[in-house]
């Protein structure tokens, strides 16, 4: 998120500036935790952007006769249901499998495998 400088030959009336060092801030004791929090916020913004877009789509669909109620009460076919569950399970696996990782070696751990 560091400041970028616009590259252009056109007049911008901008001057040089004195950059902040906010990129170096650690509020949670470990910069990785800080970074994870930032990513989590960014992810939230992306999810909300998608949900808000969906609301726009639903509103437009309603104007065309597809109401929110029709969306809410839509009953998938058996084939759709099976396909969606498969997709859901893939989503869950990709998203939450990392939580199960049982790491136990520090960065300084010796290389113990046989070198071939």
């Amino acid at each position: 998120m560091a400041t970028s400088k616009l590259k252009t030959d056109r007049p911008t009336y901008a001057s040089d500036f004195i950059a902040s060092d906010v990129e170096r801030a650690v509020f949670l004791g470990n910069p990785v935790l800080d970074n994870m929090m930032t990513s989590l916020i960014a992810l939230g913004a992306e999810v909300w952007s998608n949900r808000r877009r969906m609301k726009v789509v639903e509103a437009l669909l309603a104007e065309k006769g597809v109401t929110a109620e029709m969306v809410e009460t839509y009953m998938p076919t058996a084939e759709q249901d099976a396909e969606w569950q498969k997709d859901r399970d893939r989503f869950i696996d990709l998203t939450y499998s990392p939580l199960l990782r049982e790491g136990d070696l520090p960065v300084s751990a010796a290389f113990t495998r046989e070198k071939k």
Binding site: T3, S4, T8, T12, D16, V22
Partner: protein
């Protein structure tokens, strides 16, 4: 509320559609952009005075971060404050007291819940600035075209000073805004939309600036021919002042060239004849006694104490006898300095250190009203209301 389309729709020139530049292939009839001038970049139209952000996803991103700011300022802050006070008490100190920072830090710095609140605020702000700057930079030519299209047209004037020496004290990335007020071509764009986040979505129609303009005190003789707003930023207050005083010559000055460029462009777009000049508040280049009213809004806490004094001197110089000076800022007027406790001390420091409020501690240290008296103003400590404060200091240049 003024509906810009109602106000200006009859005379608006509809020129080429630039939506394609931004990948928007169409818009509904209700939101179809009506270009106010050739080159106007407005792919998603306007919501009354506010040009909608040019992409739905960018608007939603900003919308989320605004919601996050509101939430972090309430729920998250409450948790942080409770833990802060508990930690201070556990350290044998009284959190109601204005404690020195060196006593506060060791007791609270490792509390990750307090850190979480700080991280929510800082990261939310960083992400917002980053998303805005990324959009404006990626579409730079269209936005530069847009500003160039209005640089030399009215109704108001724009005076840029490309050779002006920009003092270092103005070059900081205040509010961690990328490039700060002076260092980015789209500082005005980013500032305007970024402060919508700061105002928690309550200033989309310039409500705060229009309210300030409506409360602006006038000289006792009622004569208001010329008004100056020092440090005008994206120009919302000069615009609102021009609307309240349509016959007055209204000027906004700001050190940031991109700031006044944006301010001018926006006023052209709104059909408001406020004037803008790139200049320092302490050296406005106006003649002695030129103005009837000089004001500023949350500017003094962004400058060093010495500059604050020079700005007060400049306000005195450019006011005519009987003219009024109404500098609005945090803690002006009779309430200044009251209510300090350990948490507010800590929060102020964090704002200074990590929100790049470089000069705020200096501002807090200045006897602002006293400086106004020293300069020669007749001072009313409990002057008219304004943003956040029931009372604000008001100065009158003796007749």
């Amino acid at each position: 509320m003024i509906d810009r389309r109602t106000l200006f729709g009859a005379t608006a020139a509809v020129v080429s559609f630039v939506g394609a530049l931004f990948g928007s292939k169409s818009a509904s009839a209700a939101s179809a952009p009506m270009k106010m001038f050739k080159g106007d970049v407005e792919p998603r139209g306007t919501d009354q005075r506010l040009e909608r952000l040019p992409k739905l996803d960018l608007e939603s991103y900003d919308n989320f971060l605004t919601g996050l700011r509101i939430w972090s300022g309430s729920a998250s802050s409450k948790t942080a404050r409770r833990r802060f006070n508990d930690a201070i008490e556990a350290g044998g100190l009284d959190p109601r007291e204005d404690l020195p920072l060196e006593k506060i830090f060791p007791l609270v710095e490792n509390d990750t819940y307090i850190g979480t609140t700080a991280r929510l605020r800082t990261s939310g702000q960083q992400l917002m600035w980053s998303a805005l700057q990324k959009h404006f930079h990626e579409n730079a030519d269209a936005y530069l075209d847009e500003m160039e299209a209005t640089d030399n047209i009215g109704p108001g004037k724009l005076e840029l000073s490309p050779d002006m020496e920009i003092p270092d004290y103005t070059k900081h990335e205040i509010h961690i805004q990328p490039g700060g007020y002076v260092g980015d071509a789209f500082a005005g764009h980013s500032y305007h939309y970024g402060t919508n986040n700061f105002y928690r979505a309550e200033n989309y129609q310039d409500e705060i600036h229009r309210n300030l303009a409506s409360q602006m005190p006038t000289p006792k003789d009622g004569k208001v021919l010329r008004i100056l707003d020092m440090g005008c930023g994206s120009g919302q207050l000069p615009a609102a002042l021009k609307e309240r005083f349509p016959d007055a010559e209204v000027w906004g000055v700001d050190v940031g060239g991109p700031m006044v460029r944006y301010a001018h462009m926006r006023c052209v777009d709104l059909g408001i004849g406020a004037n803008f000049r790139q200049a320092l508040a302490e050296d406005t280049k106006f003649d002695d006694g030129y103005f009837d009213i000089v004001t500023s809004y949350i500017m003094h806490h962004e400058v060093p104490a010495q500059k604050s004094k020079e700005i007060i001197d400049e306000a005195f110089r450019v006011l005519r006898p009987g003219g009024v000076y109404f500098p609005l800022d945090f803690e002006t007027g009779a309430g200044r300095g009251r209510g300090k406790n350990a948490y507010s001390r800590f929060s102020s420091w964090r704002d200074h250190r990590w929100n790049e409020e470089v000069w705020r501690p200096e501002y807090s240290s200045v006897d602002f009203n006293g400086e106004m008296r020293k300069t020669g103003f007749d001072v009313v400590d409990e002057g008219p209301p304004g943003w956040r404060s029931r009372y604000n200091v008001l100065g009158t240049k003796p007749a």
